[in-house]
């Protein structure tokens, strides 16, 4: 990791927001909920509480080792070999997530935006030129770019929302639990599965000022994310109603419906913010992946490691793209839930317990 780099709390919040936004709204709303789509709105505040509870073990671990990411914590507690295993586990998780995201992005792009394009023509310039360059430049560059990206995103989203205000129908918000609590629970499940941001925060700890209150930071991020999500989903549901529940990309669908003076529809502009988010998201994941691999002692070959990460992502996402990208299945998939529980809860708790035992042994030996 580049210890000399420095990012502020606000920059990190913005980065976390951007990495959460582009796909989560799509997954949560698009659950084939039909007339019960309004139940999703209630799941947003519940998810906020769950996210915070789930984050507690990792926050406690980080608090015990200020200025260190989970891998460094593991090295400190259980030694370098165990730290390497932890780095490998997190690295593989980042790889799996970014590969899936790339596949979904390519799928959306080729099927919706430019049907004449193919995977290579979209992925090669994006991964091998832009994302590789961004990842090589490091975390400071990524967070600075994300503060530009969030402005563009907010402008586009504001344009869409403002243009759709006349189309809002509050009738779509009721009745609640029309078909039972199934959709509500499924939305909570999907929200839980699609929220690994606490991991990102944990991996960005070395770049924050020493003494930063991570709990407070996570709380701020979570509140900001909740408000934004609530707003976006409120507009999606009240404008599109059950029609929105059939959309894989509800924001894109919303932008097709919106119209502002010279623009007939805003989907192309929405696409711009979408691509920017995808670039930031992918670059950040590549950076996290490479920083996990660098823990193995390849610090002198950072560019090669990043390039290899990009190559692996390219081929795996091409493979996944050719197999399936049924997005609903992924975020309500029990395997992913298991992985999320393991990475967010089990692994940090294990490390915490090991730390407690280690400290006790050390204390006893000292006495």
């Amino acid at each position: 990791m580049e210890k000399q780099s420095f990012i502020s709390n606000k920059q990190l919040i913005v980065l976390l927001i951007l990495t959460r936004l582009p796909f989560s709204t799509a997954y949560i709303v698009g659950l084939n909920a039909g007339r019960s789509v309004q139940d999703i709105l209630l799941a947003v505040p519940v998810n906020f509480v769950i996210n915070f509870i789930v984050a507690i073990p990792l926050l406690m671990l980080i608090k015990r080792y200020p200025g260190k990411d989970p891998v460094e914590c593991a090295i400190n507690i259980l030694g370098k070999p165990t730290g390497m295993i932890v780095a490998l586990i997190y690295g593989l998780f980042f790889l799996a997530t970014v590969v899936h995201m790339q596949a979904v992005f390519q799928n959306f792009f080729i099927n919706t935006v430019i049907p004449d394009s193919n995977f290579n023509s979209v992925a090669i310039p994006m991964l091998f030129v832009v994302c590789f360059y961004g990842a090589v430049k490091g975390i400071e560059t990524i967070v600075r770019f994300s503060s530009i990206g969030i402005v563009i995103y907010l402008v586009v989203v504001s344009m869409i929302i403002i243009s759709l205000i006349p189309s809002i129908k509050l009738d779509y918000l009721s009745p609640q639990f029309y078909n039972g609590p199934g959709v509500f629970l499924k939305a909570i499940w999907a929200g839980f599965n699609s929220n690994p941001q606490i991991l990102f925060l944990a991996f960005c700890i070395p770049f924050l000022k020493i003494g930063t209150k991570t709990g407070k930071l996570f709380m701020k991020w979570n509140i900001f994310a909740m408000v934004l999500f609530f707003l976006l989903e409120f507009v999606s549901i009240t404008v599109m109603g059950p029609y929105g529940a059939k959309q894989n990309y509800p924001l894109s669908a919303l932008s097709m419906l919106s119209q502002i003076s010279v623009f007939e529809r805003l989907d192309a502009i929405d696409m711009v913010s979408w691509i920017l988010n995808a670039v930031i998201y992918t670059t950040f994941y590549i950076y996290l992946m490479s920083s996990c691999i660098l823990k193995f002692g390849f610090n002198k070959h950072k560019k090669i490691v990043i390039f290899l990460c990009v190559v692996v992502i390219f081929f795996l996402s091409k493979l996944e793209d050719s197999v399936s990208t049924e997005i609903h299945d992924v975020y309500t998939n029990p395997i992913l839930t298991g992985v999320t529980v393991f990475l967010l809860i089990v692994l940090p708790i294990t490390l915490l317990l090991a730390d407690v035992i280690k400290r006790r042994i050390v204390n006893e030996e000292t006495e």
Binding site: Q11, V122, P125, M126, R144, I148, I275, I304
Partner: protein, 526 residues
């Protein structure tokens, strides 16, 4: 395997770099760098004169006059047309020829001191001891007096060479600001600064650089405001400059750049003393080169490209309006042709039907794809611009007529180019000049956006934008983020970035460049 390959690649790269030697750096070799190597003046006047006549052999502008002072042989030397001859006669020659030592003064040293302190009255008068200094000072407009039996020389600053008068710089005009701009002589430029900042903290440090040209280069800064580490970094870079000739500030600008291969410059330039004073007041350091009206400024942020002297002379609202206009103009200049190509080729549904039909009608009969039209027209415009700049003035009007006819009328009526493309080129040309300091990177970015749009529409544009954004966000200028105070965001500093707050607000707290959010000037350079 890959690691081994990378090592081989690195070795090869180092070998090529060493062969090309494009990044070589070494110690500067100018006057003042190694005084111990100077040649001491001889006590015999004849020896000294043999040396100087040999050195100045073939230099018709070298003038010397032999004379007798108090019974001793003496020589006055200078370079013709560099000095005020009348002042030389009145202040040096006349008193010397009339000088009669007081009765009883026979000691050589006493006579010398009497001549120096009681006979000669020029203000800028010093003693020097080496031939190198004599040579250099003569060529900067000093008069040298050598007296037999003395191993030293007296010099008189009687410069009166011709130089361009002080006038408003054409590239940085202001409607309500000062009309003065820098000129070529360094000392005049220092005077222009001193007149605006009557403050003893305004310091000037001079260095002599250029193995052949021996050019005087000055570092200007405000003591107590500029970060010491920043100043030290500038000094260090200046001392590592190893070039033969420095004829303009541009010759050494790249030595102060933090990202020499980037299309954006991290070194600011200005020809206005009022602007330079303002920048020094914000903690920046300037480098002024003798013989060049352009001064260099470090560190230089991206947002400074959108500020100019007039912003601070007009009202807040209008200044804010023009500031926003400049950002908009830069956006149009860089992205409009690309956006037009992208929308026209890939996303026509974005436009309202009426506008779409109008554009489609105009482009219907043209034989080329939009991307080719855009590249062609931009290239023609850039060629015309270059021709207009480089061609003798007599050809200027002819070029304008041909250009306007070629672009504006003939190409459209011949059906080669669509009329909207002409409008796009005209708009781009106009808006490109709103922010002149970003013209060069703007042109390069424009072509990249056109090509990206032609290949992949808005996706291509977005990727190109992301690439440039990564580039700009990764840049640092003397450990200050190039994109500050926008990224990282510094709300307080924005009062003079997107808007121009009233003077009461601006003057409430002085913002030094090293205090901007994300700056690590003191941490890293110190």
């Amino acid at each position: 395997m890959l690691i081994a390959l990378s090592k081989v690649g690195k070795t090869m790269l180092d070998f090529i770099k060493a062969k090309l030697n494009i990044w070589k750096s070494g110690a500067a070799k100018g006057i003042g760098d190694s005084p111990s190597e100077y040649t001491q003046l001889k006590s015999e006047l004849t020896d000294n004169m043999v040396f100087f006549q040999g050195k100045f052999d073939g230099c018709v502008d070298f003038v010397y006059k032999e004379m007798q002072i108090c019974g001793k042989k003496a020589v006055v030397m200078y370079v013709d047309n560099m000095i005020d001859k009348l002042a030389l006669s009145e202040a040096v020659m006349d008193p010397l020829t009339k000088a009669v030592p007081p009765a009883g003064m026979t000691n050589d040293e006493e006579i010398y001191k009497w001549l120096r302190d009681c006979v000669l009255f020029t203000v800028d008068q010093r003693e020097i001891f080496s031939v190198e200094e004599c040579q250099w000072l003569m060529m900067t407009g000093f008069v040298v007096l050598l007296i037999d039996d003395y191993e030293k020389a007296l010099i008189f600053g009687l410069q009166a060479f011709k130089f361009r008068s002080i006038e408003e710089p054409p590239s940085e005009t202001a409607i309500r600001g000062s009309r003065e701009g820098f000129v070529e002589p360094l000392r005049i430029n220092l005077m222009l600064l001193r007149r605006r900042m009557k403050n003893t903290n305004l310091k000037f440090e001079t260095y002599i650089l250029g193995n052949e040209s021996k050019t005087e280069v000055c570092i200007a800064y405000l003591k107590g405001v500029a970060a010491p580490s920043l100043l030290e970094s500038v000094r260090h870079r200046l001392k590592t400059i190893d070039v033969d000739t420095i004829l303009a500030a541009g010759y050494i600008q790249s030595y102060f750049q933090d990202s020499p291969l980037s299309i954006f410059s991290t070194v600011g330039i200005t020809e206005r003393p009022d602007v330079l004073c303002g920048k020094l007041y914000e903690g920046r350091v300037s480098v002024i080169v003798d013989g060049s009206p352009t001064t260099l400024l470090m560190p230089y942020l991206f947002t400074e490209n959108f500020q100019n002297a007039d912003d601070y002379a007009v009202g807040t609202y209008y200044a804010t309006f023009t500031r926003i206009l400049k950002y908009l103009a830069f956006f149009i200049a860089v992205m409009l042709p690309g956006l037009y190509v992208a929308v026209g080729s890939f996303h026509p549904a974005l436009l309202p039907s009426a506008l779409l039909y109008t554009l489609a009608q105009s482009e219907e009969g043209t034989p080329f794809p939009l991307v080719f039209e855009a590249i062609l027209m931009q290239l023609i415009y850039e060629m015309l611009r270059e021709a207009g700049l480089r061609a003798p003035k007599q050809f200027g009007s002819a070029i304008n007529i041909v250009g306007a006819f070629l672009i504006g009328q003939a190409a459209v009526s011949a059906g080669l180019i669509g009329a909207p493309m002409v409008i796009i080129v005209a708009l781009t040309a106009t808006t490109g000049l709103v922010v002149p300091t970003l013209y060069e990177p703007g042109v390069i970015m424009r072509f990249v956006f056109i090509i990206a749009a032609g290949m992949m529409g808005l996706f291509g544009i977005t990727l190109a934008f992301a690439f440039f954004a990564f580039l700009v966000c990764s840049m640092k200028t003397y450990e200050v983020p190039f994109t500050a105070p926008l990224a990282p965001l510094d709300i307080f500093s924005l009062r003079d970035v997107i808007i121009r707050a009233p003077w009461k607000v601006l003057s409430r707290k002085k913002v030094k460049v090293q205090d901007v959010t994300g700056s690590e000037v003191d941490k890293a350079l110190g």
